[in-house]
Symmetry: C2
Subunit: 540 residues, 2 copies
Amino acid sequence: MSNEVKQKSKQDLSMQESPQAREAQLGITVKKEQDLSEWYTQVVLKAELADYSGAKGFMAVRPYGYAIWEILRERFDQEIKKTGHQNAYFPTLIPESLLQKEAEHFAGFTPEVFWVTKAGDRDLQERLAVRPTSETIIHDAMKRWIRSWRDLPMLLNVWNSVLRAEIKSTKPFIRTTEFLWQEGHTAHATEEQAEKEVMEILILYKKITEELFAVPVLIGKKSEKEKFVGAVYTTTLEAMMPDGKAVQTGTSHHLGQNFSVPFDIKYLGEDGGMHHVWQTSWGISWRLIGAMIMEHGDDKGLIIPPNVAPIQAIVIPILFSSTSSSQVSHSLSTKGRTRVDKGAKEEEKEKEQRGGDTASVISVCREVKSRLENCGVRVKVDERENYTPGWKFNEWELKGVPLRIEVGPRDVAAGSVVLVRRDVSDKSEKKKQAKLEDLEVSVKETLNEIQSTLLRRCEERLHTQISEASNFETLSKILEERGGFVKAPWCGSRECEDKVKESTGADIRVIPFDEKPKGEDKCVVCSNLGLHLVYFARAY
Amino acid sequence: MSNEVKQKSKQDLSMQESPQAREAQLGITVKKEQDLSEWYTQVVLKAELADYSGAKGFMAVRPYGYAIWEILRERFDQEIKKTGHQNAYFPTLIPESLLQKEAEHFAGFTPEVFWVTKAGDRDLQERLAVRPTSETIIHDAMKRWIRSWRDLPMLLNVWNSVLRAEIKSTKPFIRTTEFLWQEGHTAHATEEQAEKEVMEILILYKKITEELFAVPVLIGKKSEKEKFVGAVYTTTLEAMMPDGKAVQTGTSHHLGQNFSVPFDIKYLGEDGGMHHVWQTSWGISWRLIGAMIMEHGDDKGLIIPPNVAPIQAIVIPILFSSTSSSQVSHSLSTKGRTRVDKGAKEEEKEKEQRGGDTASVISVCREVKSRLENCGVRVKVDERENYTPGWKFNEWELKGVPLRIEVGPRDVAAGSVVLVRRDVSDKSEKKKQAKLEDLEVSVKETLNEIQSTLLRRCEERLHTQISEASNFETLSKILEERGGFVKAPWCGSRECEDKVKESTGADIRVIPFDEKPKGEDKCVVCSNLGLHLVYFARAY
């Protein structure tokens, strides 16, 4: 499907550039409910968040999509810097010998690694891996940088990209060969401190995911099978998409001493002895953007939660409209039109009136922009002259701008503006008049309402997407018919986990921290004692 | 030399961790004037700006060095966003077929390219280049994204790293196999607009280099030989290091239609016709940090200009000192010391006195920090208990913090603090008392003075490092004996340029915009007519 869209967008290059032609290609041509996958691809491409680029599985992030990433990065950076984390940078290429130092880690990653074997036309003596993750090269440095307890904890973070050759089909933001992320790497004096870090980061991730992206998540541990290769254990955040498939939006790993022993990272303790450090690593990626798109969008396109929206409010001057400011109207430029029904004088008068209206409407639009900017709202005025208000409405709806502010001559006369919410379709909720004097308060309140509505709506849906199963038949039936999370007791064996995967395609997504099976619960597969209560789901 | 240092730092791992042991290894062991290269390496490693990491030629940027990069990035981002540029992201790996589209560009880069030939154990059908620069992959996207004049100018910027296999010896920040940079890529409707962009960015680079890093630069064009492969022409910024070798700190290229023709990037003009776009590209890298280190540092270590200093002011409590607050004193902890000359009572009294002093000194230190933070100064208090003030002075001097603020019991009593400048060594200039009530003003003024002193000092030195030559013998002699820039007329031929390079190692660094040879001036090499006045120099 995505290839078709790509082809199509290439053909568009040669299309004539009238606004009408643009409008025709602009809209999303499938319903989200009918074909989520095709809807998703169209939204990503048409809202200009990203585009396919280079080799298969790679993508370019366009400015509008990258601006979302910048907002996430700035906020996350602030949060981790408060707790003493520092950013650094490490090489893109990792010598094979370093990657091999932790055997499980190497075995897990090597099928996905891109190998550099040549520089110019010279063969390299040792192959270099394009980093699939940076544990090994960072631990190699920590070995040199950590000497005593005074150097601990060492709390490093890197913003970079990693590459993993994907054999599965790719999907922009959700599964790509290269992706942008942050990877945190820390070293601690004690196991307790490392485990505390793992949990603190997990909770921060949950906060960021829910507060910025309005995507609710379940948290807990991964099973042994699903944990990060090389970790003692992995904690995870799992979101549920409208089609019943899960998305893992972040992970935080306790590495124990699994790396510090082979990498020989030791510190001189206050007790005078040398000890291996305890480590963690953790990451979130641009997947969060993918989950956000699927969670909130509708048949008109994207809906971006205000807290991560590059443009939170778009101000649109409503000009040349003969009825109400909210009607989708077309440009009434006189050029090329014959007006036989009006005398020259009357026309002249109308023109003058329009000229006056234009000036005052544009002036109020700019005032709205500057006042909102001053109180920290990301706002833009769409002053383009050769597009109708209706065309602009469609474009900014497609791009998911959460709030539209309409300013027409009547609004100017009444000292008010019209606020139109992107997140609701019910007319009475969607639009409201706001007095110009209360602009800042009205806009901020409305943005907050949109943010919380989006989260609440997803939370409610998540609630309906959690089922329970006490036997294998029910488990399979639910996964087959409606997907979502299925909560069930599990004995803890790899065999039972594999059996579910083989027959239903679902994994154990998460083992919650705070839910346990009742004493007599049986494993949903083998009927042995259920040691854990786990959430099964198919996943992206 | 650098390898030796590396070895040494590895041995240090096993050293006992007493403050004295640390102090011994901390200092720079060579004079800057005597061995700039070894001095430079020691400063980079010991001030913890960066470290060697991974394969030969690669380095890791440590948090202290990365913080400088973050300051540059934030400031540059602000500046280019004001003029409508937008950030984006493009793949790390570029298919060989894309890289080949512009023949000169490909030929120029291919000897330096790292080639990915395998993914896991599968051979790739087409080799992928680890990006040496992103023109080709970005132009391939622009071809899809640009349709009409409404899409122009397209002003993209990317913050990423690029990799070029270096055969020459490497030097942290100055010449590394991988380096962080920003690369700007723009497309315009007319050649005039593209050329305007090239110059505006060049001027912005000069401003950033001089205002932030206090590194003065010459600007102008590169010769045909030295221009970016694929460009119509390249403009450049050239700084002069204390040892008489130049550093190119940034370039801004006019690409004309050299790429838009092979990449077929066309737009529908307002005239209804299809036209190829006009393009530019431009970049600055972490080299700026390298130039800054060489320009300002001294025998004690780094000196960071306040405008890019991660820590602009370090506050040091002067405790347990028996004389003045400024004396370098050693910890007088009573532990392990026998005091036979004092009665128990007197000792008790002294202890109490010290306890009171400690509390009030620490409290003033924290007040200083919070007040300075509130007015935007990046400030830190060094409250570590097991280091003497003297040890702390040395460490923060090595790390180049531009301003030290000393707070001792006498200062507290007098309602003042002592400000100590890192950039001057003359005692009367170096230190001054400041009233606590005037803290903000005094500190800001002093930081401004330091910033402008550093720039002025380099400008004065640059002035002495520019010579003139009217014949080949003089040119060679100056380059041999004292280096620097040698200004001379040049006929414009590649032969003469090559001859200078072969016999002196110097290139034409820059052809200034505003200096021309006089009518009768002869080429410094061949004695034909001098068409250009150019600056020759050896370079890093």
